[in-house]
């Protein structure tokens, strides 16, 4: 039955959004972390989504979602002068991660909304399939 593909599509979207939620959690957890070496500071990460239709039905317009990769943000790091910090370099400076907390909160809300939308897609498809099965009873 053709409605079963909705489960694949919605499932792939739920997986992608849960990856996004995990990355957001990691960003928020590392929001204030500092390091004496700018190369080793935590940088904000973002997943990159892409539609994939090869495994599903390209000519009928059906496409799922896949996480193509995770990119690190290129935003500048903040330099803090903290001479008594154990990780401070010879000038007494440490570098703080470039996580933008407000942006991450917005990402979190957007991801959870999209996840809920996908759950709703699955529920509706399930209900319609069950009604179709009950046809003629």
């Amino acid at each position: 039955m053709s409605l079963f593909k909705v489960f694949d599509v919605a499932g792939s979207a739920m997986h992608a959004q849960s990856v996004r939620l995990n990355v957001t959690a990691s960003n928020l957890a590392n929001a204030g972390s500092v390091h004496g070496d700018p190369a080793k500071v935590y940088r904000a990460r973002q997943p990159v989504f892409t539609a994939f239709g090869e495994a599903l039905d390209r000519e009928q317009g059906i496409a799922g979602v896949r996480v193509r990769g995770i990119v690190e943000s290129g935003q500048p790091l903040t330099m803090l002068h903290q001479p008594d910090h154990p990780d401070a370099d010879e000038n007494g400076n440490v570098w703080q991660s470039n996580v933008n907390t407000v942006e991450e909160m917005v990402n979190m809300i957007s991801a959870s909304r999209s996840y809920r939308n996908s759950v709703e897609l699955m529920n509706t498809a399930k209900e319609l399939l069950l009604q179709t099965l009950a046809l003629g009873r």
């Binding site: 039955m1 039905d57 009928q60 996908s118 003629g136």
Partner: protein, 130 residues
């Protein structure tokens, strides 16, 4: 007279299921960059499916037979024209898609009801009003 008790509803149900899948992938790809929202033109897809399901006249065994409603519907998928496209090239507008999705689910249920009524009617006729 040839009886077609399930006449337009079978094709309609199949097309509703196709549209359900198309709208589902729109909502699933609401955050995918460069994804273009799609929809099907239901009226033309249904008339194409119906004319095709009547069958093609074949004067030779090697002529192609007409196929079912699904293949005719595949060509009816079109890109949606967005009112507010976003900067990342995505044209999914979640509220528009959700409205279309709810509409489509109700119409799917309506087609099911029509089919169910047709089945009940046939059963009634077979059993002789019992």
């Amino acid at each position: 007279m040839k009886l077609q008790p399930f006449a337009p509803h079978v094709e309609a149900l199949e097309l509703r299921a196709l549209r359900h899948r198309v709208l589902s992938s729109n909502i699933a790809n609401a955050d995918t960059p460069h994804y273009k929202a799609r929809d099907i033109d239901f009226a033309s897809a249904l008339s194409a499916a119906r004319s095709e399901s009547l069958g093609l006249a074949r004067t030779s065994a090697r002529h192609l037979a007409g196929s079912g409603a699904g293949s005719a519907a595949g060509g009816a998928v079109r890109y949606r024209v967005p009112t507010q496209p976003s900067l990342d090239g995505n044209t999914v507008e979640t509220d528009v898609e959700q409205a279309a999705f709810a509409d489509n689910a109700i119409r799917y249920r309506a087609s099911l009801e029509f089919l169910d009524a047709a089945i009940r009617k046939l059963r009634y006729a077979i059993k002789g009003g019992d």
